[in-house]
């Protein structure tokens, strides 16, 4: 087995036993990247020189006898909407193509403290707005399982980097499914943690009340290990939750006898492909055999999740992206006539069409005369969705659903119809609306050999239960550590 095929947990053990050095691992990661990157296009920026220097520093500390955190010396990729001091952070936008953040995001500090080696910054839909990674203004990313298919999005580069073995783990972000849907499309594991459990300080804001950073891996254990690094309270994010964050890795337990899992009937009907439904229902059957109780439940407001999500997220985006005006940082138009024209031209030339669509929708739903009918109503409906979930979690421990209506579709297939693209988010957005954790992992393949992902949804702070249920299924199904290409 090659190094690139190993899990982060395996690499961690090898480093600890001095069977391999971090420099060797980092070189192997870049060798694999050189081999596949032209096909996958996972990265916007590679940081090889810094990575090798960081790896050498970790090796020296280990050689000096220092006890290091479990993932110290393991390479990781980072989504390019997370600020990295002095390293280009583009959000895959012409607007920030040359932006060099003057500070690190809190999660970057956490990765550094834990000794992880960043390999580079991965591609995304511009400002994380999209579901296929095709909205990147800078790079085309392809699904490692079939290079004619999309990776999903917006964290498409992160998912591809893990699926293709360029790294074993990656950091992404999820506003409406941006970790979970690409994880599903690329056959890897991805978790959107409970809102408030990972600091958003230094994550370039899309929709602040929904955005959440989270881990990717090729197995549950790796995902738990990276989550342990990322999660924790941060004074610099006022929405960060002050509480104890016990190790999820230490708490892993595949015994799920007696666990109650709900199947919401609304997620298995019209609009969901038969192959996807079948695979997720087969996973439910596996859970039954493992000793869980599987029951049908109802989340009646699911059909309104898309309008609620697109109103709230676009409203917040229109406000958050108002800061990009061509004045303080970012793209400035070359020709303009006065200050207002400078704003207008810089924004119209700097933002791609999807970002402009969302800003337009957000401005519309917040504008005078429409605010009550759209934004205010969506906020009220958000409460109703939360109540829907709270009621469900009185009956069950976890909820099992498909992640997306279909498997990865062909590149270009949905780009001309934004609404069709939005429909693909139907299974994931309500989790963000309710601030809950969601875990996605592979549960089979379709007739074209494209991965199918299932989604487990837990109550707030239910990450341990999610990961335990994920581990139980992973062990039973053997669907783990799938490397494509």
């Amino acid at each position: 087995m090659e190094l690139y095929q190993k899990t982060a947990a395996e690499l961690s053990a090898m480093l600890k036993n001095k069977e391999v050095s971090s420099v060797e691992l980092t070189k192997a990661a870049f060798a694999r990247t050189a081999q596949v990157e032209e096909q996958t296009g996972a990265y916007i920026t590679l940081t090889e020189e810094k990575a090798l220097a960081d790896a050498a520093a970790i090796d020296s500390r280990r050689a000096a006898g220092e006890t290091l955190p479990p993932l110290a010396g393991v390479p990781v990729s980072v989504k390019d909407n997370i600020c990295t001091k002095g390293i280009r952070t583009t959000c895959a936008s012409k607007m920030l193509e040359n932006f060099l953040p003057p500070y690190n995001a809190t999660v970057m500090e956490k990765l550094d403290e834990a000794g992880l080696i960043m390999t580079g910054k991965t591609n995304l839909d511009e400002f994380a707005m999209g579901s296929s990674c095709e909205n990147s203004a800078l790079r085309k990313t392809r699904n490692p399982h079939n290079l004619d298919r999309v990776t999903g999005g917006s964290s498409g580069g992160a998912a591809a980097s893990v699926a293709a073995g360029e790294v074993s783990i990656a950091v992404g972000s999820d506003t409406g499914g941006s970790i979970r849907q690409p994880a599903s499309f690329c056959g890897v594991v991805g978790m959107k943690p409970t809102y408030g459990t990972v600091s958003r300080y230094g994550l370039i804001a899309f929709a602040s009340s929904l955005d959440q950073i989270g881990p990717f891996g090729r197995c549950i254990e790796d995902t738990a290990m990276l989550a342990d690094v990322l999660m924790g309270h941060d004074m610099r994010d006022s929405t960060s939750v002050p509480r104890e964050y016990p190790s999820l890795t230490a708490g892993l337990n595949a015994d799920i006898k007696g666990m109650k899992i709900g199947l919401p009937k609304e997620y298995f009907g019209e609009g969901i492909s038969e192959e996807v439904s079948k695979a997720v229902l087969a996973a439910a059957e596996t859970y039954r055999q493992l000793g869980a109780e599987v029951v049908e439940i109802s989340l009646p407001l699911s059909r309104y999740a898309l309008p609620i999500y697109y109103i709230l997220s676009s409203a917040e985006a229109s406000s958050n992206l108002a800061r990009f005006d061509g004045v303080k940082y970012g793209y400035r138009a070359k020709e303009f006539d006065g200050l207002i024209d400078l704003y207008v031209k810089s924004r119209s030339e700097g933002f791609g069409p999807e970002v402009q669509r969302r800003i337009m929708l957000g401005t519309y739903v917040l504008s005078s005369g429409y605010y009550d009918a759209y934004y205010k109503k969506a906020r009220a409906a958000q409460r109703a969705i939360r109540a829907d979930y709270a009621k469900a979690f009185e009956q069950v421990d976890l909820i099992l659903t498909p992640t997306a209506p279909t498997t990865a579709y062909k590149i270009g297939e949905k780009t001309s119809d934004p609404l069709q693209m939005y429909m693909g988010d139907i299974c994931t957005v309500s989790v963000n609306i309710a601030g809950l954790p969601g875990l996605v992992q592979p549960c089979g393949f379709d007739a074209d050999k494209m991965p199918i992902g299932m989604q487990l949804i837990g109550p707030r702070f239910g990450e341990q239960t999610l990961l335990n249920a994920g581990l139980a299924y992973e062990k039973a199904s053997g669907l783990s550590n799938i490397v494509a290409l």
Partner: protein
């Protein structure tokens, strides 16, 4: 609530986007379908549920202590146009 072209241009102005910009006609057209989609929310009856959320949640307060921030050079390093140690913009006051 159908959205007219005139309305789209009004919104573009509020958002400081150029309705005559490249590709904007398509965006204006897409707005029709997107607004129709979000309009589905109008049929939802919410009874006495309002938008006042999480009344039990408290503000995250901290002591008002000065902390180190960035120096001017660091911040200006990303500005597209710098003159005399400040960000330069076109003349605003005639």
């Amino acid at each position: 609530m159908a959205i007219t072209r005139e309305n789209v241009e009004y919104i573009a102005n509020l958002a400081r986007l150029d309705p005559k910009g490249e590709g904007f006609d398509q965006i204006a057209e897409d707005m029709q379908n997107i607004v129709a989609m979000v309009d589905q929310l109008q049929e939802l009856e919410l009874g006495d549920i309002t938008d006042i959320i999480d009344t039990d949640r408290k503000n995250a307060m901290r002591e008002d202590v000065p902390v180190e921030s960035f120096d001017k050079e660091t911040i200006l390093a990303n500005a597209p146009c710098v003159e005399c140690g400040g960000v330069s913009v076109p003349r605003v006051v005639e």
